[in-house]
Structure formats: C-alpha cells, structure tokens
C-alpha cells in the first residue's frame, strides 16, 4: 500500500514511522506540511514529535497546517489515518477524533515501556491482534492524559471505539485508562504509545509491527 508520513516542523518520529511502514512492506513517502496533496496515499500517518514546538498546547498550531485540509478530506472519505503521540494530539485538536490530551497527571514528561490491552480489533490497524491481547510499547510524552466529557467517554465505550487501554500502569492519568481510540468510521486511529518503536527484535520487542502490517485491508 502507499503510505504517506506527514512532516510538520518539529515532527521527530517521522523517520521512525517511515521505517516501520517500510519494514512492513509498504511504499512510503514523506509529505511536507505545506503540501496540499497527499500523493494518492492509501494510508496517512501523523507521526510523533513536537510540531511547532507544542507551544500553547500539543497539536494546537499544527492542526492549521495547510496539509490538514487534505488529511481531513482523506479521513472523511473513509481512508486510513493513524496518529501516533503528537499525531494523536493533532487529530484531537483538529476535531477528527473526540476529546483532548491534557498534561500528564504526574506533570512530567514520561518515557517508559507500558503494557497495552487491545480492546478493538475492527480497525485496519488492529485487525492483526486478538481482542484482549496485551502488547508492550514505549510511551514518550508530556501531554498524554486522555480527557473527554462523560457522555463522550460513554459513547466511545458503547460503540467499541476505545482501541487500546493501559493495562496496569497508566503513565499519564488518562481517563478510563484510554491509550488509543478510533472514529465512528473506524478508519482513523489515534494512540499515545509508539508502536513504531516496538517493531524490531533488536530494539527489544516486535509487538507493534502488526499495526503497520495493516492486516485488515
């Protein structure tokens, strides 16, 4: 498949996402944030980093980048879109996914390996997992506490749109241990942990690789 990795000024996991997608056998290209064209990509990845320095709020400025119009259209058309960490923050700020990512409850940036439980396997990104399966992946963020109002949270649960939950160690105080969610159409997934950092045995873990395999397409 054709995968586009968007680069905002300040993205810093762009190359990591590129490699993970490449290793999964896809044709991968970078798209600069000023571009208004996604080059016919089947899958768009908004990678981790600190777009625009995360000044004001993580993702707040990046969501207005020129490329975001095309990203929104891509999502509306039901095509695949993955936001990892900063990418997830951008998706929430842009309203493509509900809720927001607030400052970690512990107030510090936190980087460590966590355990995730797969809650939804009906997205293209998680079709390669079993429901209830646990995975390991690193988190690395300062603003990763998922928050939304009760009604939104209930709705996410009811519709099976919580994709990943922290199992045991919740590193940021996210409500209901939410680590990743999907949209109504299940074509957009946002998550705080970094599956691209857990996709190679040499780096200690391959649990994240299946996410890039896109078994569900």
């Amino acid at each position: 498949m054709k995968v586009a990795v968007v680069r905002f000024p300040g993205s810093n996991c762009d190359a990591d996402a590129w490699h993970a997608a490449k290793d999964a056998g896809h044709a991968v290209a970078f798209v600069w944030h000023r571009s208004t064209d996604l080059g016919g990509a089947d899958v768009v990845v908004l990678p981790g980093g600190f777009a625009y320095g995360d000044y004001l709020r993580a993702g707040a400025i990046a969501r207005f980048s020129p490329v975001m119009k095309a990203v929104e259209a891509h999502a509306k058309a039901g095509r695949l879109l993955l936001g990892i960490c900063n990418g997830f923050q951008v998706l929430c700020e842009a309203g493509i996914l509900p809720g927001a990512l607030a400052r970690n409850a512990g107030l510090s940036f936190v980087c460590r390996w966590v355990t995730l439980r797969v809650e939804a396997t009906d997205t293209a990104f998680t079709a390669g997992y079993r429901k209830g399966q646990t995975l390991r992946a690193p988190v690395a963020h300062g603003e990763g506490r998922y928050v939304a109002d009760e009604a939104t949270l209930d709705r996410l649960e009811r519709e099976g749109r919580v994709v990943f939950r922290y199992a045991g160690d919740n590193p940021n105080g996210a409500l209901r241990d939410i680590a990743g969610i999907t949209n109504e159409g299940r074509n957009v997934v946002g998550m705080m942990p970094h599956p691209e950092r857990a996709a190679e045995a040499l780096l200690g873990c391959t649990d994240g690789a299946a996410l890039f395999a896109l078994a569900g397409t």
């Binding site: 707040a60 927001a100 928050v147 105080g173």
Partner: protein
C-alpha cells in the same frame, strides 16, 4: 489604534488540574498556611491593532475560540483591553 488585550484561559471545572494541586501542595509544605486550593491557567497578552476597544475584544474572543483555548478542557475570558500609546 493599538490595544493590549489580555485573555485568561483556565482549566474547566471538573477537569483534573494536577498543576493546581501540585502548587497548592507545594505551598503548604513550604509553610504557607491557608491555601485552600489553587488552579493554574494561561494568560495570553496580545498587542492588537483595531479601530475600537470593542473590536479588539471581539477579535481576541474569536482567537480564543479558534486557537488559544481548547473547549474540551479550558474556559476563557477576555480580561482587559487597554489602549497602548
């Protein structure tokens, strides 16, 4: 005409404000008695060109809605607008 407009953006009631809690706790352990609670928000100070104060305030309000505040987690008020030289 140039205005200084100040907007205040605070965590919404009901949303956990760990920073405020940490501040209240730290003040207590530094020996400040009588701190019942603390909340920490953001102030954005804008130097704005606008014909009249009402326009400056109005522009600031739209900026908050569009960019400066996140409605999921934050409330804002346009606090002051004063004429600059």
């Amino acid at each position: 005409m140039r205005w200084r407009v100040r907007v205040r953006i605070m965590p919404r009631q009901g949303i956990l404000d760990p920073q405020g809690q940490a501040v209240a706790h730290a003040l207590g352990s530094l020996g400040f008695a009588g701190v019942a609670a603390a909340r920490v928000g953001r102030t954005v100070e804008l130097a704005l060109d606008a014909p009249a104060e009402a326009d400056a305030r109005d522009a600031a309000k739209r900026m908050c809605e569009r960019l400066l505040a996140n409605p999921v987690t934050e409330d804002f008020v346009v606090d002051t607008a004063e004429a600059l030289a």
